[in-house]
């Protein structure tokens, strides 16, 4: 099913036991077109897929990708690079690093100091061939230092230390040495990436630079994954005690994971700083961390392709689609429909739920309209056929904010109840939940896209962890609880 789920023909596979193997076998023998499609997809190797993805990324701007879409593409690629780096620490080595964004910030600030007028009277303006390696090596050293506690602390304790390291970085850049680091005003007028007389100035050039860097990083990491070090990381993740007794130098291996992750993050940071021409402390705060985690978790921690894909998907939705009401309406109703199609079986039940929802909405709309004209005075905020379909179905009052708030709270309560309910009750509850979802969306969520996308990121983390912890592309692993 996924790149990494495919068991290699030879060699041991870490973290997949007999149960997983049996499940893979069962999938192999899946009947009908689905099994055939899965087998066909699995026959394509990892490298051809990377090549295809790379080609798609290169060709994409030629289809008239304008200024705004290009910026979304650049941001998505930066986050994808970060997620791929985070995958080393979290996905492979199993170390929960909540200060990861600080390395991103370190890279950005390091590059900003080395290529702007910030230090001294004229500033330092190093070419990128010098400043990039300097920043990356600096980040690797910092990664080693931050990783040092991982020698003694495990699990939650490491998470706390790294979280506070990340917060301390934001506080540090905000408050310490405002003459050099600029405080809350950050550093502006950063040089573009330049070397040997060539300058990356246009957004398109940054897009291609990021594509090259992401593909190169993924290729290197793919080689690393099956190397001695990569296997050692995964062994430490599965069971550090067993790994140690197999003579794997656990501490050194953990530190290396931190250093490698930090290097990738710093690389992303330099490009980010150069492309933005400015860096601010808030660029490296917790929301970015959560965004990167959401990408990694959605795609599947432990899988390079999963990390990159997940981050790209999250960012394109977050940054691109959720800005226009019409696009996000397609996305929202499409996702609901998709979830229903996948999750509600048999078809009879699905049809019943859909019909009941439609009837429920029409009745609710008619009753609300009969009671008060202003209760249905507002229409859907999007344009296009979805809005036309919904106009006589969903209640949108003339002044939607307050009812929308109640609708949102009711929706969250209904969702919780829906998860707890069983059997017939679940089917019954589905109808009002679907209607409430549409109501909350049209009255409140669509009007606040900036908040809605943050809510979406939080929801992705919660839902994925509960429903499919291995992510969309990750391999299912069986772990014994400690």
């Amino acid at each position: 099913m996924s790149l990494d789920a495919q068991p290699p023909a030879t060699g041991p596979q870490v973290g997949a036991d007999e149960w997983v193997a049996r499940q893979a076998l069962r999938r192999e023998s899946l009947p009908s077109w689905r099994g055939a499609a899965q087998r066909a997809a699995e026959r394509i190797g990892w490298w051809p897929r990377l090549a295809v993805a790379c080609l798609a990324a290169v060709v994409l701007p030629m289809f008239g990708l304008g200024g705004f879409q290009l910026q979304v593409g650049i941001d998505s690629l930066v986050i994808a690079l970060l997620a791929v780096g985070l995958n080393i620490v979290v996905g492979w080595a199993g170390l929960l690093d909540l200060g990861y964004v600080a390395f991103f910030g370190f890279g950005a600030y390091g590059f900003a100091l080395l290529s702007s007028g910030q230090i001294g009277r004229t500033g330092i303006h190093l070419p990128a061939v010098l400043s990039l390696p300097m920043v990356m090596i600096g980040a690797a050293v910092l990664g080693l230092l931050v990783g040092l506690p991982s020698r003694r602390l495990i699990g939650d304790y490491l998470a706390i230390v790294t979280l506070f390291f990340g917060e301390a970085f934001v506080e540090f850049t905000n408050n310490v040495a405002p003459g050099t680091l600029g405080g809350p005003n950050g550093i502006i007028n950063i040089d573009p990436i330049h070397s040997f007389g060539y300058q990356f100035t246009s957004n398109l050039s940054y897009y291609y630079l990021l594509v090259v860097l992401l593909v190169a990083t993924m290729a290197v990491l793919r080689l690393l994954e099956t190397s001695r070090t990569g296997r050692a990381w995964q062994a430490v993740r599965e069971d550090s005690l067993a790994a140690a007794s197999m003579t794997i130098p656990v501490n050194r291996v953990k530190l290396m994971a931190f250093a490698f992750g930090a290097m990738v993050a710093a690389l992303a940071g330099t490009i980010f700083a150069a492309q933005q021409i400015s860096v601010f402390p808030t660029d490296f705060d917790t929301p970015i961390l959560i965004l990167v985690y959401a990408g990694l978790i959605l795609g599947g921690a432990g899988s390079i392709a999963g990390a990159a894909t997940g981050a790209l998907v999250v960012m394109v939705i977050y940054d691109g689609l959720l800005r226009s009401p019409t696009d996000s309406a397609y996305l929202f109703y499409g996702l609901i429909l998709l979830t229903l199609l996948v999750k509600v079986r048999p078809w009879r039940r699905l049809g019943l739920v859909m019909a009941a929802t439609v009837a429920f909405g029409l009745a609710a709309h008619a009753i609300a309209g009969a009671l008060s004209a202003s209760a249905i005075a507002g229409g859907p905020q999007s344009t296009g056929w979805i809005a036309d379909v919904l106009r006589d179905w969903v209640i949108v009052p003339a002044n939607p904010a307050i009812p929308g708030n109640y609708g949102f709270v009711a929706l969250v309560c209904m969702l919780v109840a829906l998860v707890q309910a069983k059997g017939r009750w679940r089917t019954v509850l589905m109808v009002p939940t679907l209607y409430l979802a549409s109501f909350a969306w049209e009255t409140r969520l669509i009007a606040q896209p900036a908040i809605t996308r943050q809510l979406m990121i939080g929801a992705i983390l919660i839902v994925m962890m509960n429903a499919r912890p291995q992510g969309l592309l990750g391999a299912r692993r069986v772990e014994s609880p400690i």
Binding site: L98, A159, V161, F164, A168, V416, Q454, G458
Partner: protein, 305 residues
């Protein structure tokens, strides 16, 4: 010397608040071995509930019921609602993950924290909501010892949080529920085998811990006057620090850690600069983790293999 004692009083008040939040956090860690990142946001929800209770009864300048009754309603409502919210979160998001790898509930907790923060932003907006405490509780009715003044809100916060801590201590030591909580904390499987209802115990722990956070939120609203959706995150970080400094999972440790943190913060703000307060807190936490990961009163636990 007056300044010193004034800062000490302020610090102890702050510390009592931190200790209350840290207590709930530490309790949850004790029974579930889970860092509940959403704990700070429960505190934020509590502060909002207090604000809406004041608004409900006529607003700060025209309170329609006696002020002590208003305070009681604020605290009870915040405790019950936030406790219920905490229980719902446990039931919905953490219970299915109880046997999952450790990383899964942690990431879920981060997701919940982010979700709550943004849900509050959606519902209440980003503007500061103001309690306007001086309009219904006179600040001048406090104690005046030399040049040190302790206003009535501070006295109330101190007394109430002290009472809560003593009550919690008694509950954990004397009651059957406390015994069950301690049993689940020390070994969940063994507790289950001995007939303890583990699900109920964990839910009750979540309720108590979240209720403490909710009441701390109301106190913070009364003390600092301002409530917004982002206060939870930083308070959560401070509570972590307090819990970790004292020894995570240990209730006396959480109280001690909270008090120490509050006093240290107050002195740094007073004598050095408020710019570096947070940086100091973070550095303190990292240092404690590195030197003494089990905190001041925590015991070394053997890792079971």
């Amino acid at each position: 010397m007056g300044f010193f004692f004034q800062e000490l009083v302020n610090g102890v008040t702050m510390g009592a608040l931190y200790a209350l939040i840290a207590l709930g956090f530490s309790m949850v860690y004790g029974v579930l071995k889970l860092l509940n990142f959403a704990h700070g946001d429960l505190y934020m929800v509590g502060a909002f509930i207090g604000y809406f209770v004041i608004q409900w009864f006529g607003g700060p300048t025209a309170v329609s019921i006696p002020v002590p009754l208003l305070l009681v309603i604020m605290f009870v409502l915040a405790a019950v609602l936030v406790g219920g919210l905490g229980m719902a979160i446990e039931r919905f998001a953490y219970r299915p993950l109880r046997n999952a790898p450790r990383i899964a509930p942690l990431i879920t907790a981060i997701g919940i924290s982010f979700f709550l923060e943004n849900a509050a932003l959606l519902l209440f907006g980003s503007q500061y909501r103001v309690y306007n405490t001086p309009d219904f509780i006179s600040f001048s009715s406090g104690l005046q010892i030399g040049s040190v003044s302790i206003d009535s809100v501070q006295i109330m916060v101190l007394a109430f949080s002290l009472a809560l801590m003593i009550g919690l201590r008694l509950l954990v030591i004397r009651t059957k529920l406390g015994k069950q909580m301690r049993a689940v904390a020390s070994d969940r499987e063994a507790a289950e085998m001995l007939g303890i209802n583990v699900n109920f115990t964990i839910a009750a722990t979540f309720f108590l811990g979240s209720a403490l956070a909710g009441m701390a939120g109301v106190m913070a609203g009364l003390l600092f006057n301002q409530v917004t959706n982002t206060i939870g995150f930083i308070a959560g970080l401070k509570a972590f620090t307090a819990a970790v400094v004292g020894g995570i999972g240990s209730l006396p440790g959480a109280m001690l850690g909270g008090l120490l943190l509050g006093i240290a913060e107050s002195f740094i703000t007073g004598y050095i600069s408020s710019t570096y307060t947070n940086l100091f807190v973070f550095a303190l936490l990292i240092a404690v983790m590195l030197v003494r990961p089990r905190g001041l009163v925590g015991r070394v636990q053997l890792q079971k293999v």
